[in-house]
Symmetry: C2
Subunit: 418 residues, 2 copies
């Protein structure tokens, strides 16, 4: 049996009208013989609404009750979708969290999927029913309900696709695919035809909200092709694939700009083995995630150590840094509360020294001072003043030739595909 796995995000399920539209789409595909497993997120902002409600009761709401509460969002979505399909006389089954077979373990509100028991899904597919599964949630062996953390519905969809031995999984969203940059920030951003898992991972971590990084990791591990596309049209979207399935070779895949971080620098710190490790352990113990880290040697056995943290953790990170300096030596602390992180992602990039040169030239022409540079196999990240972020993004996008990237926005209807 060829099974089609589709996931619809909250923005595709904002209103009853959205739900009805998707129900009609599913009906059409089923008529053409598709065996559909559909994973749904909570409607629109309903998860945020539930969190707001919970925080009114308990500022640090978490644990089993929080998961029981949050799981209602997707439960409402699959119920309403089921009723919409009932209304169209389309056989379907909304599987509640106990029956969907998504087995989960770990901590409440940030659990992980351990396995998928596909028996109920298969039984319903064999009876020609569209299977509706609540994303973002699962149960443990005691039938306790857990959620996966934000963006978890993507992971649910990928895990189910893997368990059902599908070759691909469609992620329907409110944008047409993955772009070379955020189209809201870069007017000439182009849709990417195909992107490697590793590149997508970097972009996802950089806040390209279109696909959750855990989901990409899971797809990558299982070589599952992920098709990110729009719920509102039939255009082909972007495919996330492994290296061997890549047709074209591009140096740079995309550019991103994040403006929600702060920089902390410990200047003139003693160059003593284990000192940096100790410092970052202190940060970790305070549950502060560090994003970029740059260490450079200075004069007279002194180093400077710079790192970025999310702005809401700045106060805590500063406190930890102050305490550390007081105990471990007299470094100077320098804080930049608002910075921009410009990142350039592409798997072919590291082999071409020309890419970095192009980027630096573009920024130099704009007189932008680069405060930190961090490079990896497939990414270059630069810390620049936040006021110049937007301009830098546009300019680097153009300089790297992404404005004119060949894309696939030809009208290819879903019907033709099915």
């Amino acid at each position: 049996m060829k099974i089609s796995i589709q996931k619809y995000g909250g923005t595709s399920l904002k209103t009853i009208k959205h739900i009805q539209k998707i129900a009609k789409k599913l009906q059409k595909e089923q008529k053409k013989g598709a065996n559909l497993v559909v994973i749904l997120s909570a409607m629109g902002s309903s998860t945020d609404d539930l969190i707001t409600l919970a925080c009114e009761v308990h500022p640090k709401a978490t644990g089993p009750a929080m998961d029981l509460l949050l799981s209602t969002g997707e439960q409402v979505s699959i119920s309403l979708m089921s009723l919409a399909l009932d209304q169209l006389n389309v056989p379907n089954k909304a599987l509640n969290v106990i029956k969907s077979g998504v087995n989960i373990s770990g901590k409440h509100t940030e659990a992980f999927i351990t396995s998928i028991d596909t028996r109920n899904i298969m039984q319903n597919l064999e009876q020609n029913r569209i299977c509706l599964v609540a994303g973002f949630q699962g149960k443990d062996e005691n039938n306790e309900i857990y959620t996966l953390g934000r963006g978890g519905s993507d992971t649910t969809a990928i895990a189910i696709a893997v368990a059902l031995k599908a070759k691909d999984c469609e992620i329907f969203t409110d944008v047409s695919g993955i772009y070379t940059a955020d189209p809201n920030k870069v007017s000439r951003a182009r849709k990417i035809k195909k992107i490697y898992y590793e590149e997508m991972l970097e972009l996802a971590r950089l806040g390209a909200g279109v696909l959750h990084s855990r989901a990409v990791e899971l797809a990558s591990k299982n070589k599952l092709v992920v098709h990110v596309r729009s719920s509102f049209n039939n255009l082909q979207g972007s495919f996330v694939v492994g290296e061997d399935s890549m047709l074209e070779q591009a140096l740079v895949r995309g550019v991103s700009l994040k403006c929600d971080e702060s920089r902390i620098s410990l200047l003139d710190i003693e160059d003593r083995p284990g000192l940096a490790a100790k410092f970052f352990r202190n940060l970790a113990m305070n549950e502060i995630d560090v994003n970029m880290i740059v260490q450079s040697s200075g004069q007279y056995n002194k180093n400077s150590l710079s790192f970025t943290v999310i702005q809401e953790k700045l106060a805590l990170a500063k406190q930890v840094s102050d305490d550390f300096i007081e105990k471990e030596g007299n470094a100077r602390l320098e804080v930049d509360a608002e910075i921009a992180v410009l990142s350039i992602v592409g798997i072919g990039m590291c082999k071409h020294v020309g890419v970095a040169a192009t980027i630096f030239k573009a920024l130099a022409e704009l007189n932008i001072n680069i405060q930190m540079i961090s490079t990896s196999e497939i990414k270059i990240s630069l810390v620049i003043p936040v006021a110049q972020g937007q301009k830098a993004l546009q300019s680097v996008h153009s300089a790297l030739g992404l404005d004119s990237l060949d894309t696939i926005d030809s009208i290819e209807t879903m019907d033709a595909k099915a």
Copy 2:
């Protein structure tokens, strides 16, 4: 272990503030050693909101998806109550519908409880946790979710109390107890100290919304004392009890007025055996519930047959009646779209012919024409013109001496009780 079973209705859970207030009340009682099982309804109007949403998708929304949808209302309540108790550091456990042990059978959206598996509840009580159970719902042997129909949370609470071998069950609501008449309609309505199950059943069926009739039946069958009281004060409420536990003897317990019915009369219908049975079968086949029925013999082997139906079923009932007359003989149809049904309930009433006389005298003095009379062991119902309903209710309430009924509104705090 002495266990206290408490149920809180939607009006007691309108806002986060309401939830926090009840959480504090539970904390206080637990500190005094109470072992609490708390059954919650959905917050405020949230069940109605979910129904509205469902009907937008499917005008006749029902079945498993409807139950999956509706069950989220109580799930949200127990989650938020659990978080509110967490915030007060009160050990507690919100049991999801699969773990609460409420086993259910029957049709979707109108199922019935078959048994309660109390193991999870007991385990949590033994660990000194307050048990939170979602009312109105349960699961079948395949872990499919069902709901009990409106007012079902009362039934959940009574069923759990019976299963835990409790002697009583507290139903917390937005009124202080059961009244001799609706306090919104009769200013001198008095709170009833104690009321027999049978009387409460009649009042519940007559629309005294304070307690669901299925719950009363279940309590009656198991001789469980039900204490209906206010969530917002510590006053003693009304006790629903069996005949043997009654202390005082009153002729009349309460008076009610319903204004949502219509009357249909088939006049000069042939007096042929089985004709009425056939007619009422036709109504039943069209899912029309008939409330009062009065048949009287007329002249020349002719009868007149009158009955009342809820106003929204009038058009359908009229159609069925027309069809019946056309096939079965030439009766005349008389329809009164808006009538008032005045009911007087009391278990000692039937033995005292004086009660009926008092009622008729009171109505005669107001020049009110009685259109139908129906009596049972513990109830007299009268159909009167809707315009005079309110006046009749007040007058009969006074004439029967209910204005001056001794009540128990002395301040008896919950602390004193515990």
